[in-house]
């Protein structure tokens, strides 16, 4: 069995400590977290959605899902890497400092990557870029020789294609 990336969407009750329960389970059982995104999605029903990208073979991924579902405040877990295709996006804020030719080149690449300029000074830019993880990584790498100061990435938000909700309860 081969290791693959899997994007897990986890619907939880938004209560104190719930994120610690989920990520604590990953570290306690030796599972890897490559990306983690969490935010409240519905204040009325008081639910949050945690999106985790992890790596493992089929057996490990199944076990991770079963362990997560066992946590009391968890509603459901869905592996978005299975079945119908999913859409995954990540956003990053990328700060680049420089003058002259490098500054022009940074701006041109940002346009090519459809990044927005959200802050500009005479010697720096902050770009907002959205896309698949690989695209964001590629953009950040391109900025390195052009004066990359730092990048802040959000982690992945993901949902399934089509009209169905990911979590149907």
């Amino acid at each position: 069995m081969q290791d693959h990336h899997h994007t897990l969407s986890i619907l939880v009750d938004n209560e104190a400590g719930v994120l610690a329960r989920v990520i604590g389970l990953f570290s306690a059982r030796g599972y890897n977290i490559e990306s983690l995104t969490v935010s409240e999605i519905d204040p009325v029903s008081n639910m949050s959605r945690i999106t985790v990208v992890t790596t493992g073979n089929e057996k490990v991924i199944t076990q991770i899902q079963q362990q997560i579902v066992r946590l009391v405040p968890v509603h459901s877990v869905v592996d978005l890497s299975l079945g119908t295709a999913s859409v995954e996006r990540e956003m990053a804020l990328v700060k680049v400092a420089g003058v002259g030719q490098k500054r022009v080149e940074a701006l041109r690449l940002a346009e090519a990557f459809r990044a927005h300029t959200v802050d500009a000074a005479v010697d720096s830019f902050i770009f907002e870029i959205t896309g698949r993880t690989e695209k964001v990584t590629q953009f950040i790498n391109l900025m390195k020789p052009l004066g990359l100061v730092e990048a802040s990435r959000t982690g992945i938000a993901a949902t399934s294609r089509g009209s169905e909700a990911v979590h149907t309860e």
Binding site: G17, A20, A28, Q63, V69, R70, V72, V74
Partner: protein, 584 residues
């Protein structure tokens, strides 16, 4: 019923409504209001232990021997951290337990206050669930929910951390008991198609075997009866893990004894050779499977478990059945009878011929001499002299535990309390206290080692205070025997820190606590000493001086396969692979 009450009173009302009449605990600053409320009521008996670890193990013994939820009350900080070992023990052995911990007042949380510890954080990975109750309005619901979660599905420990100001605050108590939860919904009924597939496999099996575990015990006495019925119907032999002993009677003709690392030759050989394995409420623990890639290589595997995460965790199975053992076994029996499955079932004669040849190796036999007591002999005599009484056995952890499992024969569930998953030395004495509290007229014996007993020996004082006539039966070999055995096998006989020098005089120690202390070293005097222990109306400690270097056999060395058991005392010649050494 709705009444105004303080948080402390709400706790006691909720416990009463949950049918709790017994608490094991230890007071302290952060639980003073609860202890004050205990003082002013008559429904709940509080048993004061001498160390909070003792409270948790006592609650485990109470729970394991009754099927009820064990309850613990301890203070914040060190009170709660001392309880951690017993909480982790209850998690690994799936024991229903509710632990109420006091916490510093909510304004002080996070300030490194006196006796403050982040107990919800510390216990997150060793509880089934835990709560910090910041508002008295949430207290009643949280407590009832805690009992529901602890006792339903796969049972386990639940911690409820209650700040001191919440204990003082007032609110309305309603008495509405929670029996459901919006996200926690254990599955109890097995899927019909999988049960049908399982029956189809069993009725065509030539070499079937039941491999049963603690889940049968947890499912209640009814589950054990159903197991016996299904074993009779199918004619298949049955073996059990350490945790499942007693679910099928040791006197039954299908009984193969315990399996696993120190299990019987017949059980392990049958597991290796079987063609259909029916795993009932067990979880393919590493002490059971030996080398995973060669575990029962010729078999189709059926796995009945209430916890979906147990399925396929270690060993891939062919027919997973998620559900409560009792419910699934009842369905299987019905299906077997309705389908008249005994007709046309292949003959199991050849299978039992194999089994009988393995039984003939008599793998639990040991050397008996007239001048020194063999530890196995001590357990055997204890069994013979207590088997007709209303007896409950607890153990500590180590060689004595395995010898107890091998040589004490259990006919019923809930009679055997031992720390299986976590392997906690110090479990047996406080567990015996919990069992004795639940069964005041029973004979409760802690089979112990001289090493383990020193880990919670202070609880002899608890036994004295509450008039609990427990019996502590120490197999004293003056060595940490199980570790010594591994050092002999794996580490070139370099006995690093396994000889307990300066052992206490156990007889004097017992007397210092006010218990009766006895010592025996002559095999000829063993019986009379055991009888004296049984007849004494009060707590007794018996120091049985046994053969010092006996090894616990048979055994499957780590990293070996079931059919590679060591039977005789030839440990020093056994080669263990490096991979195997890492598995120890």
């Amino acid at each position: 019923m709705s009444m105004k009450a303080t948080g402390a009173e709400i706790i006691l009302l909720a416990l009463k409504d949950q049918g709790v009449d017994t608490l094991f605990g230890y007071p302290g600053g952060a639980v003073l209001p609860i202890y004050d409320a205990i003082y002013q009521q008559n429904h709940i008996n509080h048993y004061l232990v001498r160390h909070e670890q003792g409270a948790t193990h006592a609650a485990e013994g109470y729970a394991r021997s009754t099927g009820k939820v064990g309850c613990v009350l301890v203070t914040s900080g060190p009170g709660a951290t001392n309880a951690i070992t017993g909480i982790a023990d209850a998690l690994l052995d799936s024991i229903p337990m509710v632990v109420i911990t006091g916490q510093v007042g909510t304004p002080l949380i996070g300030t490194d206050a006196f006796q403050e510890a982040d107990i919800v954080g510390i216990t997150r990975s060793c509880t089934k669930h835990n709560y910090l109750v910041r508002n008295v309005e949430d207290l009643e619901r949280t407590l009832h929910e805690a009992f529901y979660i602890a006792s339903s599905g796969r049972p386990g420990p639940v911690v409820v951390d209650i700040p001191k100001d919440v204990q003082f605050a007032e609110y309305v108590y309603t008495g509405e008991i929670v029996k459901s939860h919006k996200t926690y919904r254990p599955i109890t009924d097995g899927a019909a198609d999988q049960i049908a597939e399982a029956i189809n496999l069993i009725k065509n099996a030539k070499k079937p075997i039941f491999y049963t575990g603690g889940g049968v015990i947890n499912s209640g006495p009814e589950a054990s009866k159903l197991l016996q019925e299904l074993v009779e119907l199918t004619g298949a032999p049955v073996t059990s893990t350490l945790m499942g002993l007693g679910a099928y009677p040791a006197s039954g003709d299908k009984w193969l004894n315990m399996l696993g690392m120190h299990g019987s030759y017949e059980a392990n050989m049958a597991m290796h050779d079987c063609d259909v394995m029916i795993c009932v409420g067990a979880r393919f623990d590493d002490r059971i499977t030996g080398r995973v890639d060669a575990f029962a290589p010729f078999s189709k595997k059926i796995h009945i478990d209430i916890d979906p995460s147990s399925i396929g965790k270690i060993i891939p199975v062919d027919v997973p059945i998620i559900g409560d053992v009792k419910s699934v076994l009842a369905d299987m029996i019905k299906l077997w009878k309705d389908g008249n499955c005994s007709q046309g079932q292949p003959s199991l004669d050849a299978w039992f011929k194999d089994i009988n040849s393995w039984r003939a190796r008599r793998s639990f036999d040991y050397n008996k001499t007239d001048d020194v007591i063999a530890p196995q002999y001590a357990v055997e005599r204890l069994y013979e002299l207590t088997k007709d009484k209303n007896t409950y056995i607890t153990t500590e952890v180590g060689q004595h535990q395995m010898w107890a499992a091998q040589h004490y024969k259990f006919e019923e569930p809930n009679r055997w309390m031992t720390s299986g998953g976590l392997g906690t030395m110090g479990y047996g004495l406080p567990a015996a206290i919990g069992v004795q509290v639940a069964h005041p007229d029973a004979l409760v014996v802690d089979i112990a080692g001289e090493g383990s007993i020193q880990m919670c020996m202070q609880e002899m004082s608890t036994a004295m205070q509450f008039g609990l006539p427990i019996k502590i039966f120490i197999l004293n070999n003056e060595r940490l025997g199980m570790v010594r055995q591994w050092q002999q096998l794996l580490h070139g006989e370099r006995y690093s820190s396994t000889y307990s020098e300066s052992l206490p005089d156990f007889v004097k120690m017992a007397e210092a606590f006010g218990c009766l202390g006895l010592q025996v070293s002559d095999p000829a005097k063993l019986d009379e000493t055991i009888l004296e222990m049984i007849d004494y109306n009060g707590p007794v400690l018996v120091d049985v001086l046994v053969e010092k270097n006996a090894n616990c056999l048979p055994m499957i060395p780590s990293g070996a396969v079931h059919n590679e058991m060591i039977l005789e005392d030839v440990l020093a010649d056994t080669e263990v692979s490096d991979a195997g050494k890492r598995l120890v």
